[in-house]
């Protein structure tokens, strides 16, 4: 064999050994002791690093979970109950199932309802637009339509509807992490639970302007007339600063408010399509749509009232 080859092999081997020894000692010297459960917990988590739990990422959350004496107050909104159950198993703890949260955009200022009053020509970001002025419509509370929430969503659950100019939440994809809600400079996105069969009743407006002003800017605005508050049998609706709000924890989805609202600002979702009912009797099909149990409860409340 050529001596060049031999020398090469010898040198390479020597270098390899020296490096291996150095690496071994360095690894020993800088070794970080870590709870092995952290890796196990992290493996259970979705790995989206969305920050919905309030931690810097899944690894950080796993550290918190392992360190916490009681994990009941910590929750991964993305993985939901299944993941928390797994984590609890790893840590030998118990968790109570929590309801799934979804984002809801509380504005119905579509291009038709809320005509544009000027033409925004800056960087297409709600944050920039909100810092600049009251917006390109008459309403200074509603959606700015630049899609900061869409950009913030890591799960592709929000998209802009080109026809309305408003974001639409795909509830099947929404994990309730809240990234959109904190990205919205107008704070019109709310996280809430859904009723049975994913039903919900929402005031689709965030305007705190007086009735006339709000109405002038947007046909679908809540004018703070408080009719819904009066009609609600469960006291779920409060009107503050000319704006009605339905507490989703109290709402029993009776949909009475939907029929009562004079501007149509209250909407119901995922209720069965009503048959083409005559406009004269809109209340009847609504009544039918409500589950029997709720109906009974409504009746009971009405009697006591």
């Amino acid at each position: 064999m050529d001596s060049t080859i031999l020398t090469t092999i010898a040198i390479l081997t020597l270098v390899g050994i020296v490096v291996a020894v150095v690496l071994y000692f360095v690894a020993q010297k800088f070794k970080v002791e870590e709870d092995e459960r952290i890796d196990k917990v992290e493996a259970c988590l979705p790995g989206a690093n969305c920050g919905g739990c309030g931690s810097a990422g899944c690894r950080d959350f796993a550290c918190k979970l392992v360190a916490a004496p009681e994990i009941g107050s910590l929750f991964c909104p993305v993985g939901g109950n299944d993941v928390m159950q797994k984590v609890a198993q790893v840590l030998g703890q118990e968790v109570v199932a929590q309801k799934k949260m979804v984002a809801v955009v509380r504005c119905n200022g579509t291009c038709e309802n809320r005509p544009k009053t000027n033409d925004y020509d800056g960087y297409a970001s709600c944050k920039v637009k909100a810092a600049l002025y009251s917006g390109d419509t008459g309403c200074r509370w509603g959606c700015l339509g630049c899609g900061d929430c869409v950009a913030a969503c890591k799960f592709g659950a929000i998209s802009m509807d080109a026809a309305t100019g408003l974001p639409v939440v795909d509830e099947s994809k929404c994990t309730g992490c809240g990234a959109c809600a904190s990205a919205c400079p107008r704070t019109i996105i709310e996280l809430r639970t859904l009723g049975p069969k994913d039903r919900k009743v929402v005031v689709l407006c965030s305007s705190k302007d007086k009735g006339a002003v709000a109405r002038k800017a947007c046909k679908a605005a809540c004018i703070g007339c408080a009719k819904c508050q009066k009609v609600c049998p469960f006291g779920a609706i409060t009107v503050e600063n000319n704006l009605a709000y339905i507490d989703f924890n109290l709402c029993k989805l009776c949909t009475k408010c939907v029929a009562e609202c004079p501007t149509g600002a209250i909407h119901k979702f995922n209720f069965p399509e009503k048959p083409a009912a005559p406009a004269a009797a809109p209340a009847a099909p609504v009544e039918k749509a409500a589950p029997a149990a709720v109906k009974a409860e409504v009746k009971a409340k009405e009697e006591t009232a």
């Binding site: 544009k116 009053t117 000027n118 033409d119 020509d121 960087y123 600049l132 002025y133 390109d136």
Partner: protein
């Protein structure tokens, strides 16, 4: 009246636009292109057309069918790449070399990094170096400059740098080689008589382009000037120490792609540093590497490699060479 426009300040914009900058570069290249057409005739024109057309086509196809994004062929940046590549080819190169080079330049060096503004290396230089390594014969068959639109004869000359290189290898001194080739005076090269790439025919034409770019504020003089100074100083020292083996500053400044490279390739926005400090380091680096490659490397020409190597340092230069900030230096 339509709706009023509302936007954050400022409400007016300067006359600068990407298209305008690229168009200015093309205008600045015009003298060199015309000179190359004059001396090398139809084949130079064929190469130019092949390069530009291929660059535009490749960019269009990639944007339209692979990236499916908006097509930006009209921003002229791919035309600049095409023209620069054409000027970097030997005038007698076959047309398919130009096509392959253009595909590599746009397809690999530019678009695979994400298109305009994202590439690490100067696309035209990547194309050229790719060809130089892949088709060494086609890329080093030189033609001596002819007069207006003669058909290119089989006559092949060599570039001044290659002449020197070969001569030195066969044991002659620089003086002997220069004496044997009376064409190799700086004055000759200044006014176009040097064999070499299509764009290297005339130093004067390139300098006219340089002045135009400066006047239009397209480039700053920092990079080319530091390259020239570095090359002049280094070659000056070398040739003073050993005039038999090393050529002098003027010879080195006016030969090879140094002028073309320093004015048009090293100043490429995307692959050069942003701050003055960074530009000077970048220029010095190119100068040093060029001289080292020319004097001690196996290639007679070093500018392409020098620029490509220094392209690699740009992110680092941008990170560490910050502009002079207001409010941190002079106090009270």
């Amino acid at each position: 009246m339509s709706k009023t426009i509302v936007s954050p300040a400022p409400h007016v914009h300067s006359e600068f636009s990407t298209v305008r900058l690229m168009r200015d570069v093309l205008i600045a290249l015009a003298p060199a292109v015309l000179v190359s057409l004059y001396f090398y005739g139809w084949n130079a024109l064929l190469l130019l057309v092949c390069c530009v057309a291929t660059c535009m086509a490749v960019q269009y196809l990639i944007e339209k069918f692979m990236l499916k994004c908006s097509v930006t062929v009209m921003d002229c940046s791919c035309i600049v790449t095409g023209v620069l590549l054409a000027l970097n080819l030997p005038p007698a190169a076959p047309w398919w070399v130009a096509v392959i080079g253009s595909i590599v330049a746009i397809g690999i060096a530019k678009m695979s990094f994400g298109g305009l503004g994202q590439n690490v290396f100067n696309p035209a230089l990547v194309g050229r170096v790719f060809l130089l390594i892949s088709f060494p014969v086609a890329m080093t068959t030189w033609t001596a400059p002819q007069s207006w639109f003669h058909s290119v004869d089989a006559f092949s000359g060599a570039t001044p740098l290659a002449l020197i290189n070969e001569g030195l290898h066969s044991g002659s001194t620089v003086q002997e080689i220069l004496a044997a080739n009376p064409d190799l005076t700086p004055a000759q090269m200044l006014f176009a008589r040097a064999g070499g790439s299509a764009g290297e025919a005339s130093v004067i034409a390139l300098l006219i382009g340089f002045v135009y770019l400066l006047c239009r504020r397209v480039i700053k003089p920092h990079i080319p000037v530091t390259i020239w100074i570095t090359v002049a100083v280094m070659t000056g020292i070398f040739s003073l120490c050993n005039p038999a083996e090393y050529t002098g500053p003027l010879f080195n400044l006016f030969t090879g792609g140094l002028m073309l490279g320093s004015i048009f390739m090293a100043t490429d926005y995307v692959t050069s540093p942003m701050t003055n400090k960074g530009m000077i380091i970048f220029g010095v680096g190119i100068g040093v590497l060029t001289v080292l490659i020319r004097f001690f490397g196996s290639y007679p020409e070093g500018v392409s490699f020098a620029i490509l190597i220094m392209n690699l340092t740009v992110p680092l230069l941008n990170k560490y060479c910050k502009p002079v900030r207001y409010g941190y230096g002079r106090r009270k």
